[in-house]
Assembly symmetry: C2
Homo-oligomer: 101 residues x 2
């Protein structure tokens, strides 16, 4: 047997990852964060929109380096299926009022 297709749980976790990173980006532009993370803006947008469920470890690590949150915090939060990402603050201090709807 070859690689198994992504399970619905993995897809949903990918969507939580995307939403978390989108929130952590705040008011910065996709292009800015992508260039700082040495990845393409297309890749960042795909991850944020949840269309890439299981991105590469270096890719997520580079984005986390740019945006601030620790990798362990990211991993822990995207595995909390019950809670939504909205009521979880990744950055302890820096909040982005433009996103607080």
């Amino acid at each position: 047997m070859v690689r198994l297709p992504l399970t619905p749980a993995e897809v949903e976790r990918g969507q939580r990852l995307g939403a978390l990173l989108r929130r952590a980006r705040g008011c910065r532009s996709v292009l800015d964060v992508a260039l700082a993370s040495h990845i393409s803006p297309e890749t960042l947008r795909k991850i944020e929109s949840g269309r890439v469920a299981t991105p590469a470890f270096p890719t997520i690590a580079a984005i986390a380096d740019t945006l601030g949150p620790s990798l362990d915090a990211v991993w822990t939060r995207i595995n909390q299926a019950g809670r939504t990402v909205e009521d979880q603050s990744v950055l302890p201090v820096t909040r982005h009022p433009s996103l607080v709807s």
Copy 2:
């Protein structure tokens, strides 16, 4: 253009990642750690041998959860190109230090 081939630097970082995880596994068997991490032993062996340079984020996170070291420690250490992995202690574990909020 499409996806770029892995650079030599990425390949070497993948080899450091594999060596680090192999050391963290210690005397435990590949099968034991793979089952505990919910991945196939083939995948774990490939990552440890450095033949998979950029594994998926959930894969590495699951292995780190099983073996102990924090993801941030892993990411930091495999980016220190100068030092070998041998003289770096991965354990003891600091469990999610940013989650104390």
